[in-house]
């Protein structure tokens, strides 16, 4: 049993004692802080549970607008007045208001269940038509996701329930709606499908931009986009709505839309024109050439998408962030998942400085095709993850790596930085034909760490950094290698260089706090007190609420103490 496990158990015990009202001693408090700084698992769990802490908002519930809030409170007050006051607080075991014994309720429930089952059987027996109508019930599907996309309450990757928020942090997402209507949602945008009924489809845009493509009215169903400033009613058109903190803009590419704002006359915006919603400027102006070009490019990508019945294409690449184009139209960046119309398509995956991959795909309704391209330095290998009919352009075949449908958050688009200088042996290893991925190397390093093979783990991390310097795994590997060099390999100078490289690349990266703290520890081990002092101050400036902040403050005081004593 490792020392770390024992420490984790002690940490949990002390935490539970605190929850029970116990006050930890000074020594115990120091242990708690130190353990949190050292143990990633405990720190992450503490961070996640801290997310729940109440900050006077509605927590996981959607905030209510003023009108809904007033309705809610009025209903509650009226209901309480109608029911009359209670003379004592409700308990967990309040008597049933009907006063019936439990067994009578159980018997009634059993009878109702039997009746229900009978009813279901009868309906199924007579219900081929009903099945068809259920299948044709209007729905919303998430048909394309590229980058970091989060869906509220999603239980499956394509699941987008009415009323739930779709949030695109980076990249894009597209939603298929009834009557061949599509909505493309841009970066840093949030929207939700408010209503999908036989009479109307309504999408509410909270922020960011969306491009909607709506076919001329079918089944007389209205298509409406609402924003905080008013609503845009559509008859048959392609248009963009953009919501920023300052203004709400509508740009119409085809057809026409009607702008409805509270307290103002309705306005019509024709094709090739733009107008503001809710602003002082109420003129309808011609659309700028740049905005028109951008909207046309987005529209072209929407034309490729199919509805729930199309073919599924998942494209990943190593490194991530490669541009995915179909028939010359850019759809998004890897990792990308899209439901496409059936047909022949030319797929191109390209990344600056790497050889692009081209492949001819033949998609049929119901197909599910996975592609995972290794765009490593120079050579390109394509690794189909499941059998598919498309074959052109395949250079090498590797074992299958299953996609995890439960993972709905994709790693961020990577920023490319020049690779560091490599020695001959590393170059030879990198250029050797191989299908190993960054994830494989990371797993290999983790296994070696678990076996306390520190040097082996460091070698795996170094190989990963050399082979996939711009991948998201490389960032994690860099910090892990720094920790390893510091804690197990006795190389604080090396650790310092690694942490420095990480922090120079990003101050706001996911592991920047750990890297900054590791940098301080490395300086301490090297005895560079002045530099350590500066690093401690910088740490507090960037991360004043960090878990390590108390330790950093104490260390800063310790470093300052001898100076004070001097005359």
């Amino acid at each position: 049993m490792g020392r770390s496990d024992e420490e984790c158990r002690r940490y949990e015990r002390l935490e539970m004692d605190q929850a029970g009202g116990g006050v930890p001693t000074e020594q115990e408090r120091a242990f708690l802080a130190e353990h949190l700084a050292r143990c990633e698992t405990c720190r992450t769990a503490a961070s996640a549970s801290a997310l729940m802490r109440h900050t006077d908002d509605a927590g996981p519930a959607r905030p209510l607008d003023e009108l809904s809030r007033r309705r809610f409170v009025n209903f509650v007050v009226t209901q309480a007045a109608a029911d009359g006051p209670m003379e004592e607080e409700p308990s967990l075991t309040a008597a049933d208001p009907s006063g019936l014994p439990r067994w009578q309720w159980m018997s009634a429930a059993a009878v109702l269940l039997a009746l229900g089952v009978g009813l279901v059987l009868v309906l199924r027996w007579s219900g081929a038509d009903r099945d068809r109508s259920a299948r044709s019930r209007p729905r919303a599907h998430l048909v394309m996701r590229s980058g970091e996309v989060l869906v509220e309450g999603a239980r499956a990757p394509s699941d987008l329930a009415v009323g739930k928020t779709l949030w695109v942090r980076r990249g894009r997402a597209a939603v298929a709606l009834p009557d061949d209507a599509y909505v493309l949602l841009g970066e840093r945008s949030a929207a939700r499908v408010v209503r999908v009924s036989p009479g109307e489809t309504t999408v509410h845009l909270e922020q960011g931009w969306l491009l909607a493509s709506v076919q001329p009215r079918r089944n007389r169903r209205r298509f409406v986009v609402t924003t905080r400033a008013g609503r845009v009613e559509v008859i048959g058109t392609v248009f963009t709505v953009r919501v920023t903190a300052e203004e709400v803009t509508v740009e119409v590419l085809r057809g026409q839309v009607r702008l409805v704002e509270p307290g103002h006359a309705q306005r019509l915006v024709q094709r090739g024109h733009a107008a503001q919603l809710g602003g002082v400027d109420r003129k309808v102006r011609p659309l700028a050439a740049g905005a028109r070009r951008a909207a046309l490019a987005r529209m072209a990508s929407l034309a490729l998408l199919g509805d729930g019945q199309g073919a599924q294409l998942d494209v990943r690449s190593e490194p991530a962030g490669a541009e995915v184009a179909l028939d010359g139209v850019v759809l998004g960046r890897t990792p990308l998942s899209a439901r496409l119309r059936a047909g022949h398509l030319r797929l191109q995956v390209s990344l600056a400085g790497r050889t692009p991959v081209r492949e001819q795909l033949t998609l049929r309704a119901g197909d599910r095709i996975h592609r995972d391209y290794d765009l490593g330095q120079g050579a390109v290998s394509v690794r189909p993850l499941s059998p598919s009919r498309a074959g052109a352009g395949v250079a090498a075949v590797a074992p299958t790596r299953p996609l995890d449908p439960a993972v709905e958050v994709f790693p961020p688009v990577v920023i490319h930085r020049p690779a560091r200088r490599l020695n001959g042996a590393t170059k030879a290893r990198i250029n050797a034909p191989s299908t190993v991925t960054a994830r494989d190397l990371l797993l290999r390093a983790q296994k070696r760490r678990a076996a306390r093979d520190w040097r082996g783990a460091a070698a795996s991390y170094r190989l990963l950094l050399a082979k996939f310097p711009t991948s998201s795994a490389a960032r994690a590997a860099r910090v892990a290698l720094g920790m390893l060099s510091l804690d197990h390999l006795g190389d604080p100078a090396g650790a310092l260089r690694i942490f420095d490289a990480y922090l120079r690349a990003t101050r706001r990266g996911v592991l920047a706090q750990e890297a900054a703290y590791g940098y301080i520890r490395a300086l301490r081990r090297l005895g560079r007190r002045k530099a350590e002092k500066r690093a401690l101050r910088t740490f507090l400036k960037y991360y004043p609420a960090a878990i390590q902040a108390p330790l950093v403050k104490r260390r800063l005081e310790d470093l300052a103490a001898p100076a004070k004593k001097r005359p």
Partner: protein, 204 residues
Amino acid sequence: MVSQSTNPGFYESEVALARAAGDGDPRANRHLAERLLNRIRATVHYLAAGDRDADDLVQMALVAILRSARTFRGECSLERWGDRIAVRTALRELKRRRWRERIVALDGDVAREGQISADHDIQRRLLRDRLAHLLGRLSADRRAAVTLHWMHGYSVQEIADITSAPVNTVRDRLRTGKKLLKSHLEKDPALRDWARSFIHESHG
């Protein structure tokens, strides 16, 4: 111990506010409901584990709070007293599973929906929603203990009083909750990284 009165609004103290609400003063009732609404909604949504009908439970909890306003004696803050009633009401209803009939639709006029949210507000809400769904894997009693401790910082003894459970049982429930969270974060690196980056960004 009588609590220090914190912003009772038009009323002299929290006890006076609760007394007026208990006597049927509509203004006091509205004031009380407005004051506790966000807190109770957040708590109940965690307890209901992201269930779409959670707002029905919120209504029931708030109605129970207003109806028992007379019983408030100022021994703790109104918020803590409200938490106790809300958790008991929600737990009882969750166990009965008879709260599925909708009482009143919450969707307002969508054209008038609220103010624009900052990026991190939406992100924080969605992350909390994922946590709420995760808590759905626990039993209602365990969920209540975890919610009261992580969300409001209640001690083990206080949770034991609210949920009428032995202290050791509450400890066990908290331990199970933490274990579940840890194991889930191990399996879901995306959620882990996102939550941590979000916390860093908020602090930054």
